[in-house]
């Protein structure tokens, strides 16, 4: 089955599947990206698919921004979710200008 997925920014390493995707499905990115990749996991609708091979500790990019880091390797075409991505634990005081630069 051919599944559509939305990639938002050219920097993104994940896209969001518009339907349930299964192992062996072809996943096509919507305009303007148009790339097609092979799905290697079961991915529920509205969940993310890895667009590249991701190593444990790699930053995950969506919206062109880091949304968290991978806790385990995720192959290209694999399911990216709360089970294998964690957000950063941050403190406001460390986010002030001096530290931010």
């Amino acid at each position: 089955m051919d599944i559509q997925a939305i990639k938002i920014d050219s920097k993104d390493t994940v896209a969001t599947c518009m339907q349930d995707a299964h192992i062996g499905d072809l996943v096509t990115l919507t305009s303007p990206f148009r790339e097609t990749l092979l799905c290697i996991s079961t991915i529920p609708a509205w969940h993310k698919i890895a667009l590249v091979d991701i190593k444990a500790g790699d930053a995950i990019y969506k919206y062109g921004e880091c949304i968290g880091t991978a806790t385990e390797p995720i192959g290209k075409g694999g399911w990216v979710s709360h089970l294998n991505v964690v957000g950063a634990d941050r403190q406001y005081d460390e986010e002030l200008w001096q530290e931010a630069l």
Binding site: T16, K48, G68, A88, E95
Partner: protein, 386 residues
């Protein structure tokens, strides 16, 4: 780019030409409604404050009432007061008149001797003002005069993927053409505030963005409410959101990518042009109230599940990326960008659709909420009533 608007003697041009019947407090709101009901071309607001408040709440109410009167969509103001509220009609009128030369008249219910006697005078004044307003023609105005408020509510999975990023691209285009936009809902920045802060035009703005998030989180903590615990919610995770960064980014992406030039307190008018932030709650109606008091002539509102809300002073354009919602709630939805989700067109195409609709509405096309005459107002509160 230009739109057809109403020139004002000072400040930005209006996209509507309204006579506002403005109560000073909750007790004058219903009399104000009766006045507005008698005169086509007027709008009224119902407010829940103006009395029995701590100073901080009084200050916010005053900023909102004054801000409503100064909004460019308002041609003239008819103030209805009671007589024993914190700030009476004469004082409010004088405050407004210090900042604008638009016509402002005021009446007090206790002074006049009740609702009917007040209404008799106020209706007659409002009719005169509407007649004056009706003589004014729309003329071409530069898009740099536009200040567009941004809001999202009733979000679903399509909000962060289609409507918000498309609105963000639309904002970039508006700002590049010289217009200004106002992002609000501080509570929804939390988790991605460091990413938002990176868009700051300078150090001061950067630290203000972090500062308003910290202050909001502390404020809610003082009432026992945590902003981060349990975020994203189990429902969010099931819906495909993995981290709070991802959830908050989906919201702030509607503000686009241009440098943020100013961070405003709630209901304060900007002093700069470009991408602006106002520190408001995530509660849609309160946030829209404050942005319109801050001078927004139009609010672009993204939604997934659909919402009817509207404010009488400014068009609220409903944008959805959910095709089912657009069809199912056609009475309330204005702009359909579901083709992004369907893969029929790109985010850029969706942004252009929003841009075109914003321009049409500025030129006079009524939004769904305006056609119904919706007038939702909520004045934010920092403390219980006294």
């Amino acid at each position: 780019m230009q739109f057809l608007g109403y020139k004002r003697s000072e400040g930005r041009s209006g996209v509507r030409n309204l006579v506002l019947v403005l109560p000073t407090c909750g007790c004058a709101s219903e009399t104000a409604r009766i006045v507005a009901n008698q005169v086509q071309g007027t709008v009224n607001v119902i407010i829940n404050t103006g009395c029995a408040d701590v100073e901080a709440n009084t200050e916010l109410t005053q900023r909102i009432l004054t801000g409503f009167a100064l909004n460019p969509n308002v041609f003239a103001v008819v103030i209805i007061g009671l007589g024993c509220e914190t700030v009476g009609h004469t004082e409010l009128r004088q405050k407004i008149q210090k900042e604008t030369s638009k016509p402002v008249v005021s009446f007090g219910i206790q002074e006049e001797g009740g609702t009917l006697k007040t209404a008799a005078k106020a209706v007659s004044a409002a009719r005169e003002l509407v007649a004056q307003a009706s003589m004014q023609q729309r003329i071409p105005c530069d898009v740099s005069e536009l200040l567009v408020g941004l809001e999202c509510g009733g979000s679903d999975a399509t909000s962060g993927l289609a409507a918000n990023p498309a609105l963000g691209l639309c904002c970039d285009r508006l700002i590049d053409e010289g217009a200004s936009t106002m992002l609000s809902e501080t509570i929804e920045f939390i988790g991605a505030e460091h990413i938002l802060a990176r868009r700051a035009a300078n150090k001061e703005v950067h630290d203000q963005i972090i500062g308003i998030c910290k202050a909001y989180e502390e404020h809610l903590a003082s009432a026992g409410q945590s902003c981060r615990a349990g975020q994203p919610t189990p429902g969010n995770k099931e819906g495909g959101l993995s981290t709070l960064e991802e959830k908050s980014l989906g919201c702030i992406k509607k503000g686009g990518s241009r440098p943020i030039v100013e961070v405003l307190q709630e209901a304060v008018r900007p002093t700069k042009q470009g991408s602006i932030i106002m520190d408001t709650p995530g509660y849609d109606i309160a946030s829209i109230t404050s942005m319109v008091a801050g001078g927004c002539q139009l609010v672009a509102f993204t939604t997934g599940r659909g919402t009817p809300t509207g404010i009488a002073l400014a068009p609220v354009l409903k944008i959805t990326g959910n095709r089912e919602t657009y069809r199912h709630m056609l009475d309330n939805m204005d702009t359909d960008v579901s083709g992004i989700i369907g893969g029929e067109y790109s985010l850029e195409d969706g942004a252009n659709r929003i841009y075109d609709d914003i321009l049409s509405v500025c030129n006079g096309k009524l939004t769904k909420a305006e056609a119904f005459g919706f007038s939702d107002v909520c004045i934010d509160h920092v403390c219980r009533f006294v």
